[in-house]
Symmetry: C2
Subunit: 113 residues, 2 copies
DNA sequence: AAAGTATATCGCAAATATACGATTTAGAAT
DNA sequence: ATTCTAAATCGTATATTTGCGATATACTTT
């Protein structure tokens, strides 16, 4: 019975929800912070920093990559990841305009606040 | 094997991930937009607007309520929901400072961009 | 009191996410 | 060529999410 009804919503709503989902796990938040902190790409150092197994970290990295938030290149036997700035900025813009939209419409207090 | 490792992360990371999760479904994005649009609280009109069954909408509303993003009061036989402005603003601040943090650290281009 | 209306909750099925160990892949070093 | 190292992928177990119909709840209207 759990058919995916997500397609029934607007592109914009779907896109924002997808970005939110990419950020919906503390491990992925931590990964993004760590990547930004080090600036230059790192790889398995994340495994040392995070309280997760190597395979689990790899999985989270793939999710962030699929969402487009990070990019990865193979550097010898290691893998090197970094933040995809343009995609990230687009994500920020989506969130910002959504938040702004909510805030500007919300002029007066609702009946239950 | 899927023990919850979320507690192993910082409070801040967990809180942000929780907020992101609340926004991680297009139905919940749509609900928030609709609530903001109408400003005054509405209830089951959401069921008419959304392509989902009444029980499913109710479930999404509960999730948003648990995340603190909306408030609900019982108004006779109907239920009345609206955006919890202060909580919402706090959420916006969390996202903003996270994004800002990422952006400011990310001065130079990473090795794989 | 009885019937109607609006919501919430329960129970269930299916899909997806989380996590890990084991294995595979691929380049580096001996 | 063999061994080593780093990372991705596979297989699997469990947890959570999504979705719906059916039922329960609670207030209104008749």
């Amino acid at each position: 019975m759990a058919i995916n009804k997500k397609e029934a919503f607007s592109q914009e709503e779907q896109a924002l929800a997808t970005m939110a989902k990419a950020l919906a796990h503390p491990a992925r938040i931590a990964i993004l912070k760590e990547l930004a902190k080090r600036n230059e790409c790192i790889c398995g150092e994340l495994v040392d920093v995070l309280p997760l197994a190597q395979s689990t970290v790899s999985q989270h990295l793939r999710e962030l990559k699929e969402a487009g938030l990070i990019a990865g290149t193979i550097d010898g036997p290691k893998s090197c990841y970094c933040i995809n700035e343009s995609a990230f900025r687009k994500a920020i813009d989506s969130f910002s305009s959504f938040f702004k939209d909510i805030e500007t419409r919300q002029k007066t207090a609702g009946c239950c606040s």
